[in-house]
């Protein structure tokens, strides 16, 4: 994989984003370490998606700098920008698969755009991605409208992986999946991280995912990142929102058994 620099793969400094008079992100700072799975949590409407969209360049920002792969995304020429976009893969919450294309064509869309590969090899690679994300081979020829919710997620991940990106953005990857499917999805992301040296930036609410695959967790509240660190840091934090989040009823199953026992007694 070559030497991994410890330079953060995403560095956000003093980011301000707002809509009209409403400010969503206020002087937000965030460093995402490379080669790790970073889970990003926050209450609904706190701006998790806004931050993700700002990093991806889908939302204008009022001020602040965003660096991805140690490059300031505002200072890139259109060609450099395209080269950068090729190095990341994005999986949207609803999948955002192109509804007029089959799953296979969806996966091949970025390959066609950026690479010159022969059709048989593109077909093989698309089928490989389909296998990697755990879809049955016959899903290749299906249209997104013919897929179940879980299959749409997997197909969207396959498309995000089409160019073997270095950085993967996942927006609520396990929402809408059954617990078994969600666990498989977590394993899949862990495997991909291990094999591809992938950095993953994952917006999630799934406590199991946070527990099982996230190396780092960042929490967003009131337009700022209130804590960054491992799960144990989060559990030890006494910020009221984090306490509710990680020690609430739904969190009991993931924290260590003694925590759970304490929770049951109180």
């Amino acid at each position: 994989m070559g030497p991994r620099s410890q330079e953060p793969i995403i560095r956000v400094k003093g980011l301000n984003v707002g809509f009209g008079s409403k400010r969503v992100l206020m002087d937000l700072d965030l460093d995402v370490p490379p080669g790790q799975v970073t889970g990003f949590v926050g209450g609904s409407g706190q701006g998790k998606s806004v931050l993700t969209r700002a990093i991806l360049g889908l939302l204008p920002k009022q001020s602040g700098t965003i660096e991805v792969f140690a490059e300031n995304i505002d200072r890139l020429s259109p060609a450099e920008r395209r080269a950068l976009e090729r190095r990341w893969g994005v999986m949207f919450q609803g999948g955002a698969l192109f509804s007029a294309l089959t799953v296979k064509q969806n996966i091949q869309a970025p390959m066609r755009e950026y690479l010159k590969l022969s059709q048989p090899v593109m077909d093989e690679l698309a089928l490989l991605k389909i296998k990697l994300v755990g879809l049955p081979p016959d899903a290749a020829e299906k249209f997104p409208s013919e897929l179940s919710g879980g299959m749409v997620k997997r197909a969207a991940l396959a498309r995000a992986l089409a160019l073997d990106p270095e950085l993967l953005f996942l927006d609520e990857p396990t929402s809408g999946l059954d617990p078994i499917g969600a666990a498989e999805f977590d394993d899949l992301i862990a495997t991909l991280r291990a094999t591809l040296g992938l950095s993953v930036f994952m917006v999630t609410h799934d406590l199991d995912s946070l527990y099982s695959i996230c190396d780092t967790i960042a929490a967003l509240a009131d337009g700022k990142v209130i804590a960054v660190g491992s799960l144990s840091t989060m559990l030890a934090s006494d910020h009221p929102w984090l306490r509710t989040y990680f020690h609430g009823k739904r969190a009991r199953s993931i924290v260590a058994p003694d925590h759970a026992a304490m929770g049951a007694q109180s």
Binding site: M1, G2, P3, S5, E7, F69, A70, E71, R86, F98, S99, A100, M111, L115, K116, L117, S118, V121, D123, E124, L125, L127, L128, K129, K131, L132, P137, F143, P144, S145, E146, L161, L163, D164, T191, A194, T195, L196, G197
Partner: protein
């Protein structure tokens, strides 16, 4: 960039006694594109015929799933050629990657014999069945609509006046500027031709009757209907279609609200009330266009123009145009709603149904106008 561009995928061949060693180097990643593909093909060719082949990963700078897949595919081809193959100097990441992206021969596709004649007949049959299906759904939809209309008539509390007024605003009020413009223009253009042709017989004043008859009987209602089919028909189809795509129609249904009452009836009623209003405005605008042209080309005063129209054009001419309007509205609305509900999951299908809605809407407007022409001729009205 922290990591400089790694070298292109390549390999060297070393003979090691019995074993042929293929030493890989460079970045075997998908960004190498065609180079990667060619390197993998060359790899398979290099190993062909050797009794034992070892693929050495010591010099591989980067590897991704595409590279792993193609290398493993090359290995599988050597193995199929009778070579004993093995990997050497794999680090743990690479062996994991090779396991995840292990080559699996594609499942042989079931290739049936191509029978062009049968295929054509199959397509023709499917197409005919689709047309028949369209007729059936159209008729059943009309029936549902009539039933819903009856329910509303006997129980006016079910009617949705707010929704209807809201749609009338977009179908009628917002269409006024364009309707006025096109009818004024068409009125003046037709009048100009009429004047030129009739002037040769010294009968240019008859051009006034010509334009009044044409605008009131046909042009006003026809142009308005076509404009409404293009403007509002497409909007209805797109609205209903995207609502269907996002399961909003199903949501209505499970909440006990009939989509036909909630969505279709207000829109169709709004169209039925809007189109006569638009037709009236179109008539006035068309006559206005003729009047201006007659003044400019022939010096006929507005007063004279209006008097002549009053003297020679009966109320029936005006009514013939106006009576057609609600029927046109019904046709356009029905087609737009049926096509809207026929939208499937994809954006492409939405586009297709909107196109069909507009094209069929305009066609049916002209067809219905023809039927009316025969009917009015039959009753000498």
């Amino acid at each position: 960039m922290s990591n400089s561009m790694p070298a292109e995928p390549a390999f060297s061949v070393e003979s090691d006694g019995e074993t042929l060693r293929l030493v890989l180097r460079g970045a075997w990643t998908i960004s190498a594109s065609r180079t990667l593909e060619n390197a993998a093909d060359a790899l398979a060719a290099a190993g062909r015929g050797a009794a034992r082949v070892a693929i050495d990963f010591a010099g591989v700078a980067r590897l991704d799933t595409a590279g792993a897949w193609l290398i493993d595919k090359a290995r599988a081809r050597m193995a199929a050629g009778g070579s004993a193959t093995e990997y050497r100097s794999l680090d743990s990441d690479q062996s994991l990657l090779l396991r995840e992206a292990a080559y699996a021969p594609p499942a042989p596709e079931a290739k049936g014999k191509r029978r062009p004649v049968v295929d054509f007949l199959v397509r023709l049959g499917k197409w005919s069945a689709m047309i028949a299906g369209n007729v059936v759904t159209g008729v059943s939809f009309f029936g549902e609509l009539a039933a819903a209309a009856l329910r509303v008539i006997f129980n006016p509390a079910l009617s949705r006046p707010t929704s209807m007024i809201y749609h009338m605003e977009s179908f009628a009020l917002r269409a006024v500027p364009i309707i006025v413009t096109i009818n004024f223009l068409v009125g003046s253009i037709v009048e100009q031709q009429g004047l030129y042709q009739l002037r040769r017989f010294g009968a240019s004043t008859y051009a006034i009757e010509l334009i009044a008859l044409l605008v009131l009987r046909e042009l006003g209602v026809l142009l308005s209907s076509i404009m409404v089919a293009g403007r509002s028909g497409s909007a209805i189809t797109a609205e209903l279609g995207s609502m269907k795509m996002r399961e909003e129609v199903d949501a209505l249904r499970v909440m006990g609200m009939a989509p036909i009452e909630v969505l279709v009836l207000p829109r169709i009623l709004a169209l039925i009330f809007s189109l006569p209003l638009l037709t009236f405005i179109a008539d006035i605008a068309g006559l206005g266009g003729g009047m201006v042209t007659a003044y400019v080309y022939e010096g006929i005063s507005f007063q004279a123009f209006i008097t002549r129209v009053q003297d020679y054009i009966g109320l029936n001419t005006f009514l013939v145009g106006l009576i057609k309007a609600p029927f046109m509205a019904l046709v356009v609305g029905l087609i737009a709603c049926v096509e809207g509900f026929r939208v499937q999951g994809s954006a492409e299908s939405l586009g297709r149904q909107v196109t069909i809605s507009v094209v069929n809407g305009i066609f049916m407007v002209i067809f219905v106008d023809g039927l009316f022409a025969i009917f009015f001729a039959g009753i000498h009205y």
